[in-house]
């Protein structure tokens, strides 16, 4: 119970903090300052944003499907928070060490697709619907590669449990033998959180704001927080699966190692946003199915072959 509270508290403070971090980092890479007025280093801008979102009118368009419109933003936050259940932060600090941890993570991230689809559909707006359809196609396709790219790690460690996978990396982090798996997983992860450069469902230069065009106030805030939680989730899962989780030299406690590595990946997410342009929708699908998919399959087959060859 204490762990649940701690994890929930940490995540819900990190998620808005990331908004500040992202704005500062983007500014840094674009030779600007970013928010630097409110409070030390502009940290209070997070508070200002939150207050603003809370006090905005909670508007449901009259043409929207009210029931679905309301539950869609809740789904994204719930599914991402549920995924954190299986992430081991340090030895013993995990909400629940399921023996099908990876599958649970995949299942929850696949449920996250519903928030986009339902939100876009319920808005009853053509731009939202376009965003939702793009989002659905993108998320379903990239889920496939995400699952397949993880299987190399599962083959090497022989377990679906994230705890066991971290323990199996004592000798060597899986990023070395599973480098292609790591690349695929990370690309699929960026697509799965529909972050730039793969923000096709939002694509504000084409679709207003995509699936959440009609959302305002705290409902939009939930989508926003869900996106940042998604970044944290993908970063921490990447760290757990490929970068040895909490493992590291002794001079820092395990949790610190985990947090450090995770923040590295979060910053990489922001760097991706700062530097890469958005591909066209069909280019994205083509890249997924014609390049990533065969490569992940090859990676999986190669890993299995080498493992079998080593065994005999």
């Amino acid at each position: 119970m204490i762990i649940i509270g701690a994890v929930l508290g940490a995540l819900l403070t990190i998620a808005p903090g990331l908004i500040w971090l992202e704005r500062r980092m983007l500014a840094l890479w674009q030779d600007r300052y970013g928010p630097n007025r409110a409070g030390p280093f502009g940290l209070l801008v997070v508070l200002a944003d939150t207050i603003k979102l809370f006090f905005k009118e909670d508007w449901i368009p009259p043409f929207a499907d009210k029931f679905v419109f309301v539950i869609a933003p809740a789904i994204v936050a719930i599914t991402v928070l549920m995924s954190f259940v299986v992430v081991p932060f340090a030895p013993g600090i995990v909400v629940s060490d399921l023996n099908v941890g990876i599958l649970f993570f995949l299942a929850m991230s696949s449920m996250g697709a519903y928030s986009i689809i339902l939100g876009g559909w319920a808005s009853n707006n053509k731009y939202s619907l376009l965003g939702a359809m793009r989002g659905a196609a993108q998320l379903i396709s990239y889920e496939v590669f995400m699952g397949l790219s993880l299987m190399g790690v599962v083959l090497m460690s022989g377990s679906f449990s994230l705890n066991d996978i971290v323990e199996a990396q004592r000798g060597m982090w899986y990023v070395v033998p599973q480098f292609f798996g790591f690349l695929m997983f990370f690309i699929a992860g960026v697509a799965e959180t529909h972050r730039l450069p793969f923000d096709i469902p939002e694509a504000e230069s084409e679709l207003v704001a995509g699936f959440h065009s009609e959302y305002s106030g705290m409902k939009f805030g939930l989508f926003f927080v869900g996106e940042y939680l998604g970044i944290t989730l993908i970063s921490s899962v990447t760290v757990v699966l490929f970068f040895g989780g909490w493992l590291g030299p002794e001079f820092l406690p395990p949790v610190a190692w985990f947090a450090l590595k995770t923040f590295g990946f979060i910053i990489f997410f922001i760097l991706l946003r700062a530097s890469l342009p958005r591909p066209r929708y069909d280019q994205l699908m083509e890249f997924g199915w014609k390049i990533l998919f065969p490569l992940t399959l090859l990676n999986l087959v190669a890993t299995a072959t080498i493992l079998l060859w080593l065994e005999t």
Binding site: V100, L103, S110, M133
Partner: protein, 175 residues
């Protein structure tokens, strides 16, 4: 453990009833998702976590999303709901209801006949599922593989783009 099982099964049954009685297709599909989630919890409680996860990933996460995708493309609105309301009359229910009653009777008979399912069945992990899939049920795996292959080839054939060459007098469609 028993309580979760019964609650999950009750939710599964209730939400499936809701699936049938909704006029709005998307709402019906949402209840279908809830039903899948409940069923996956039932699997989990019965000691098959692998199947439970697959149930969510494959059915709730992919197949229903695809169905919703298609429905969104069809752009069904108020008139579709009206039509559905007209179609869904008492008379329609008679046939399926009678058939279901027969099934229910069979189910009740079987439950009464055989001994009840053991809650404390051994945990079925991924390894056991894999062994049984590639052991005794290998023919089933192969057959479904062939079926999927046929599906992929068909989809490729249907979805192949014909490149149209636009020219003043040499207009042709390249295969």
């Amino acid at each position: 453990m028993h309580l979760t099982f019964y609650v999950a099964s009750a939710i599964a049954v209730l939400s499936t009833i809701m699936v049938i009685t909704r006029y709005n297709l998307i709402h019906a599909l949402l209840y279908l998702v809830v039903s899948f989630l409940a069923i996956s919890i039932v699997f989990f409680v019965l000691g098959a976590p692998f199947v439970a996860a697959l149930e969510i990933i494959v059915y709730a996460g992919a197949i229903v999303v695809l169905i919703i995708f298609v429905i969104m493309m069809l752009n069904l609105k108020a008139e579709a709901v009206e039509q559905e309301r007209e179609w869904l009359t008492r008379k329609i229910f008679i046939g399926p209801a009678l058939l279901s009653v027969v099934l229910l009777a069979e189910l009740a008979y079987m439950i009464l006949q055989s001994r009840t399912t053991d809650f404390n069945a051994p945990m079925l992990d991924a390894k056991a599922v894999g062994l049984s899939l590639y052991g005794p049920y290998v023919i089933g795996v192969e057959l479904s593989g062939i079926l999927l292959m046929a599906g992929i080839v068909g989809a490729y054939h249907l979805g192949r783009q014909k490149k149209k060459v636009v020219h003043r007098f040499l207009e042709s469609t390249e295969e």
